[in-house]
Assembly symmetry: C2
Amino acid sequence: MTSFEQSLRHAEAEHQETIDNLIELFGLSDDTLSLEQEVETTLSKLAHEFLRDARASTDIELAELARAFSDSRIPVDSTQIDSYINSISTNLIAHSNNTASPRYIGHMTSALPYFVRPLSKLVTAINQNPVKMETAKSFSPHERQVIAMMHRLLFDLPEEFYDLHIHRNESTLGMMSSGGTEANMAALWCARNHKLGPEPGFEGVSREGINATLKHYGFDGAVIIGSELIHYSFDKAGDVLGIGGRNVVRVALDGENRIRLDELRRVVAECKERNLCVLAIIGVAGSTDCGAVDPLEQMAAIAREFGIHFHVDAAWGGALLFSKSHRDILAGIEKADTVTIDGHKQLYLPMGTGLLLIRNPELAKVVEKKANYVIRPGSQDLGKRTWSGSRPAMVLFFHAALNIIGLRGYELLIDEGIRKAKYLAEAVERRPDFELLTRPQMNIMTYRFIPQQLRAKAVSGLLSDDENRFINKVNERLQKAQRQAGKSFVSRTTSFNTRYGVHLPIVGLRAVLANPLTTQADIDAVLEDQLSIGERLSGPLSVTSDLR
Amino acid sequence: MTSFEQSLRHAEAEHQETIDNLIELFGLSDDTLSLEQEVETTLSKLAHEFLRDARASTDIELAELARAFSDSRIPVDSTQIDSYINSISTNLIAHSNNTASPRYIGHMTSALPYFVRPLSKLVTAINQNPVKMETAKSFSPHERQVIAMMHRLLFDLPEEFYDLHIHRNESTLGMMSSGGTEANMAALWCARNHKLGPEPGFEGVSREGINATLKHYGFDGAVIIGSELIHYSFDKAGDVLGIGGRNVVRVALDGENRIRLDELRRVVAECKERNLCVLAIIGVAGSTDCGAVDPLEQMAAIAREFGIHFHVDAAWGGALLFSKSHRDILAGIEKADTVTIDGHKQLYLPMGTGLLLIRNPELAKVVEKKANYVIRPGSQDLGKRTWSGSRPAMVLFFHAALNIIGLRGYELLIDEGIRKAKYLAEAVERRPDFELLTRPQMNIMTYRFIPQQLRAKAVSGLLSDDENRFINKVNERLQKAQRQAGKSFVSRTTSFNTRYGVHLPIVGLRAVLANPLTTQADIDAVLEDQLSIGERLSGPLSVTSDLR
């Protein structure tokens, strides 16, 4: 018996079974580690079977699923591990979405490289907390390195810059976050606190709050400006940061779903005229709904001209930096002040790997926090300038992937995704039963099914608004039916910026092509699924009377 | 060759090596899975060796460590997995902190139950994203269930309440978050948006921003009120939410480090008089620096009297709910509007498992967001009322632990931690070479080493301010030396609320007793380490001339 076991047994002799269980659970004895190995084998098998099943999901109804999770009592006694695994295997894992399936091409998920699976276990086992050096001694400089690598990929500043700042305590080249939403919010937090910073006799917005600060600087309000396609996390940021969702100003789009520069300039000027403080201009590099990329170079110039923080949301598109052939799609991104890139999107990392990159190493000082028990003044704790507090050391996934996939590997993955999106776009264009809604600027695109009775009109561009509304309903039902059937999956979105005019929302099927496992045959199969569902749904229907 | 391999090979014949590598990395062939198994075996061995080494850390200097992570270039070519693992094993894992070591009793980390390690792999493998149903079909109702279980443990509302709300789309019983900081910020976000909500003709703070909303409701400012010991995440929240750090008002403490109720009442009344909107009162249930618990029952009554949101930060202490013997320490917590509990603290889960519980199921509607491509109106997507956007399905750790450890298991773990803290406190009190600074209200406590030349004075309560400053320096150096030596670890903090008066900061050694592997012998050994370091450091020194 180890001393830990003795200690526990000593405690409460009456709870023998509970004590036995805890000793088994927490110990590092050979018994526990061989039990861990058994569980590992079982769960690996479960995971691999799940991944190898190419279905996007099962067809279970949500109500039935909910019934399996309807007990709100915590079990008093311990459940045996085998029976626990059996139960989640049947109820939970079996009905998860296979977000890695080659025919699940509807969201920003993909197959992941195999090494992230065992690596997860290591991250959990060593359980570092990068909020402070004392809980992440080696992971703190390691995280700084990874952030510098990504910073250099993007901003490509001179070698001496990185030699100086990579481990300089006063410098912050970026922040890890759990996702893109938090990276975007953190970027605007920095922008806001910088713009409305302290001056002699005044502590700035961080300490004084927005109300007092706007008054102090004589502004009537504060705004954030981006296109109509900026991610909804900017509405959240506007709300959270006290700016207000309605002060997240959305500028009209051009025909390619990019921000209209003349309109941007007009809105900026108008805000200045109305005495509103423009906290940031947001550029989109890969819009969530159709992968559109704003004219970043020109936006950066406007931001510079007016002295405004320029943030680029490249949560999706940032990975194009790895591709020599496609990097120019992001031209101008290197002039941004802050950039969001998600590891769990096109860097093929697991969920939870958001990243904000910050060009000026001094910027994040405007959000610095301290405490007596942690991140004391002068400490090298990363937590003093991050959005999160305690958090897992997800940076290890970045580090592993940058090394094991490498620049060339990422380049090929990106190029392949874009090639496949073109393939799908061309396939859709060739067919009268589908209509392309957005040509892919990278590897996201939208299109829709056209019911047989309307194909001739659609081809000739003669669809009435009512007919378009009918097609909307068909596509909405089609997407839901395809999702429910579970053989394949695309998502859907609604656009107000189509050839049919800004008054008419158009429902589109949305495909995201990033999974290296997705082949042209898979893409064809997804279309065939949609065609057969679409025909079945719309065949017997009349445009005027049904589906209203 | 699988079709996926054919597809990739077809792409770019010139990059054969890169293509081979990608096929190996992303495929699900037997070859890849057996490679995964090899990596799994290697990393498990590495993890287990790391965990079994009881040292708290190595004694490597930070500067040397930083040198190992100083290259900011992303490798062009792929690194072989073996050599990658070798490199992180030497540079990164070897110098991580063993936060699970029985003699690492300085932060809120512990040994974890073994099943979280293989479970991590499953979470990564299935890579669900609970932001929306389409990427987390079964995990969405599953997360709702786990949140309901924790809600019930805490608020203990009638069965019918849970039957009604557990899966009701309009109801939100809580939010998962990456950590306590985010849970606290999310709580205050809800409180702020509720207090300053919409009314006919006005959209409320969420849409209008703080500036316009305070004006609309005729307030001169907004504040949050808590004790001097509230966590620094509330400063962050004050900053982020646009309230301003200086408007996070800190109320004086009583002799037991709890908020003074008379002072709280006075401050609330004063804020009302000064026409400031009190957004929330914060109760602490387990202060980070010494585990103090505010008088929650009475605070709840004051909050109710004045119509103020009552948030309890039980990130650390919330787990006491599992203990019949100690649950009463938290009496009144069930009257809170929102409560933060961290899974990665006393629920023995990995980092990244923060949780906010919300009593009123309708409250979170004040933070709801929507988008066209996701969380559409009427959708059941969890992401419409969360702080985060995309995030990993960390809830599975909660679920597994609640089942496999069970109520009784948690109860025993909590009771044991409190028993060990008492043991340490008594050991410290018995010895003249140490002084107890805070008696543990749960399982965190502070104490300090007293150099030999001052022990008699310390015992008689005759230490001068200069002598106390000397002792501060000794303890600061002691803590750093113990940390650097790496055999054992406690953290340190600074208190202004000791018997020595509010003018004099007192440096304390801070011990957190939660690790089930920590025995009384370990506790004794930590004290012995400190004694020998302390004697060595302070022996030859003079109070008046040295260590200034």
